[in-house]
Subunit: 275 residues, 3 copies
Amino acid sequence: MNLADNLAEESWELLQRVRERAPLVQNITNFVAMDAAANAVLAVGASPAMVHAVEEVAEFVTVADALTINIGTLSSAWVESMRVAARTAARLGKPWVLDPVGVGATAFRRKTATELLDLRPTIVRGNASEIIALAGLAQARQKGVDSTQTTAEAEASAMLLARTLGGTVVVTGAVDLVTDGTRTVRIANGDPLMTRVTALGCALTAVTGAFAAVEKDALLAATAATAVFGLAGETAAKAARGPGSLRAALMDTLHGLDAAVVRAGVRVEASSPST
Amino acid sequence: MNLADNLAEESWELLQRVRERAPLVQNITNFVAMDAAANAVLAVGASPAMVHAVEEVAEFVTVADALTINIGTLSSAWVESMRVAARTAARLGKPWVLDPVGVGATAFRRKTATELLDLRPTIVRGNASEIIALAGLAQARQKGVDSTQTTAEAEASAMLLARTLGGTVVVTGAVDLVTDGTRTVRIANGDPLMTRVTALGCALTAVTGAFAAVEKDALLAATAATAVFGLAGETAAKAARGPGSLRAALMDTLHGLDAAVVRAGVRVEASSPST
Amino acid sequence: MNLADNLAEESWELLQRVRERAPLVQNITNFVAMDAAANAVLAVGASPAMVHAVEEVAEFVTVADALTINIGTLSSAWVESMRVAARTAARLGKPWVLDPVGVGATAFRRKTATELLDLRPTIVRGNASEIIALAGLAQARQKGVDSTQTTAEAEASAMLLARTLGGTVVVTGAVDLVTDGTRTVRIANGDPLMTRVTALGCALTAVTGAFAAVEKDALLAATAATAVFGLAGETAAKAARGPGSLRAALMDTLHGLDAAVVRAGVRVEASSPST
């Protein structure tokens, strides 16, 4: 497969498509990520809406172009809204993205994530510990919400999870991995300083919703979103003086990315099908 | 009327008054806007408090100088708090500002907004789509929370709404319009990049609360708040590299605005009474 | 006692320890502070988690290294979670920090704070008005959530509260005071512009949790956290153009603080035991 040959170009084309269509992305995300996620979605040219009340969540899905669900700060009321929203998206054939924040940390999160997986997310994005926990391959060693495991350790889990779901799984880390169980892509963009800014993974999840809204091939959408976001982060990190200025510069860079920077900067590598 | 002749000067005088009196502004706002709204209120020299629990919301209104209510991220519990808070403000004669975020998008929002309108907000601030939906003049074409209609399209709705309420209505957009149903002002400050930063409209609503706390003429308070905020945004945009640096620079500029910049920069135009 | 002679050096050592151990700090904080608190905890090298659902809050405390509880945006459901979390921390002997935001403002806050005090926080951090209200020494003159009283006015209250609790109390203001009822330290770091950025006190509370996680002497942990945070703020303020750039620069500076800056910049003064 020559998927990777074109991925820098494809990433640029998808970013342009997001900017032109300005898809409406509904996010049920955590309280920490609300600001960063909304700003990142705006910075790529899409329109974010944070709507979670059970009274309106389904109605809103009918007008949204994509849905993202993030379990970072759960409560029972929100879990009900998540279920209703995901069910509506699944029924309407709209793409939806699951971010299983800290899923290995508590029984409540495991239960919630399991229920949401039954509703077949189009894309799941998490760190290595989260994807491993989700795949049930290993006893999660996750302590908090940050990852203690590497992308390589999570690869088998990601493939298993993708095949079980019939969906696409993204593992973000020093190297990012995107797989639909058959095709696998590795992305070498990003910068370690990004881990010192809160909610950037959650913001990427929301941005992934924007890309999935304009591209039916979920592997391609997830890859482009992850590459573009990582490229913006590494570009921003070059001039940043620390995590505070990195965050502002990331939004600036996402907003201003042009063809030359994306074509030259996206670093992807595709594996042969492993089966 | 020669309202506009003095509006730059009036804006500067009201900003000074906010800085001197540091009014306490209680905000029941959405989760995305909490940070931006609190920072904007601090940046103009007032004191923000985000208090929404039904157990304490009325008690807090009694000590606050103004109240703002924003329906951006609703839930049933918060709607009850909004009602109690607005009723208390109305009873005590304290100014309160309504921000009908995404009111055209769902039945839950329309119902909530309708109930809150009955409690007679001093000022309503929204984008064109929101004000049109609120005035019930047109079938709302609003998809998400961003506006798809222009200020000019919303003018008749704004005037109708202002007369019905006996209040002041602000429509923000490329040009902002402020009307009390008789007097109408247009403000040409602001910058298009501001639409790429989340919650700046919500932040302006909170800042409008600060101005309404120090000036009984709601049209004047709303005009000064909108002009000062827009001026800070356009000044910040000149040096910003994108939406991330714009947001930080907006807070810096709001905090540092001086008489010369405000007097020279505020661009307002008053219409003759249209009846 | 020669506590103060070594406090700059101790502050540096504790900051290094936080960076090496990267303690997991669980925060039940308010909606305004979520972003700033998480970013500050990351900036000092620790790992934040915002977990408040009653279904998982106790389970999470068992894996966390410290807990912080902030009553800034209360609701009944969260109060229950706060109680459960604090009780679990107390039972497991894990350090926990209480931030009684606006405690003098409403009966609901006073009641909640009183219940939480019964669960013996390791450290209480508030502004002068909050500490005075908490100590019950004076009728609180607190209007909103900002302080109208000085650190000096709060000193007796802080000492009484510390002795009653058997804990450490931090009063932040123009000068910060840290006392365990016997030992008292004053810290002269910080910058007035910090009061124009929302939630920096709340962010310090979360950072104090990170320091308490790596140092059993709570007075020392609280002093180091307060001094390091204040030093980062004053360093950042020198180059900031206002509150927006200050906030970003504060995170940058916290992340980059080195031995030379900390040793030279921390300004502490210890009092003799006052009994």
